[in-house]
Symmetry: C2
Subunit: 121 residues, 2 copies
């Protein structure tokens, strides 16, 4: 039989909401989520895990209390656990987040941007 | 300060060998490896872990005993643990492998294509 690959463009076409990660796959206990982001997120921290950002379209930055990293398509960054950060995208940016199952997008900060953390597409 | 993103094109430019994954990042105990592949790999199995393939350039297929999946740039596939598989690329293909630290590329099969599994670039 022919198995089907996960196609990022096809998956990104399935939702429009910003700051609302969708799970597309799992490897062991690690989830692969796609998100569309635009504007400024909230400062937050994941105390229990590192978090990977891979940009598939557009560009973004991740602000830290002591600096910033700029990311464009084809680039990735690992935010170490316990490091406060704030993702920002001036224009809509398409990203993949990789992190253990159960991570909440706003970390310890909570608030109105907190999304359901296990919505699959 | 300005932190530096990991740029896939830049990293792929740092090595030429086929079937020789290079580690570019870790998230907790999970490693992100880049590899250039061409030709047929060996049939092998990872008994302890799933394994993620993401294609960044070119195209490849993963053969299974009961079928096949075709992958091109912007596509990914999760090979479930314990499932025998054989990656194949007719032309050079640039991929990212995501799997726990310590995984050996040839799994239980061994042989001449077995690569050092912790070479960083």
């Amino acid at each position: 039989m022919t198995y089907k690959a996960l196609n990022m463009d096809e998956k990104f076409g399935k939702f429009a909401e910003h700051w609302s990660p969708r799970v597309i796959a799992e490897m062991n206990d690690v989830q692969f989520k796609l998100a569309k982001i635009k504007g400024e997120f909230v400062w937050h921290t994941h105390e229990e895990t590192d978090e990977v950002f891979i940009v598939f379209g557009g560009q973004m930055r991740i602000e830290f209390r002591d600096g910033v990293v700029h990311l464009k398509a084809g680039e990735m960054f690992v935010v170490p656990k316990g490091v406060e950060h704030k993702p920002v995208a001036e224009e809509e940016c398409q990203i993949m987040l990789i992190e253990p199952r159960g991570v909440v997008n706003t970390g310890e900060a909570g608030g109105t941007l907190t999304a359901d953390n296990n919505v699959w597409i």
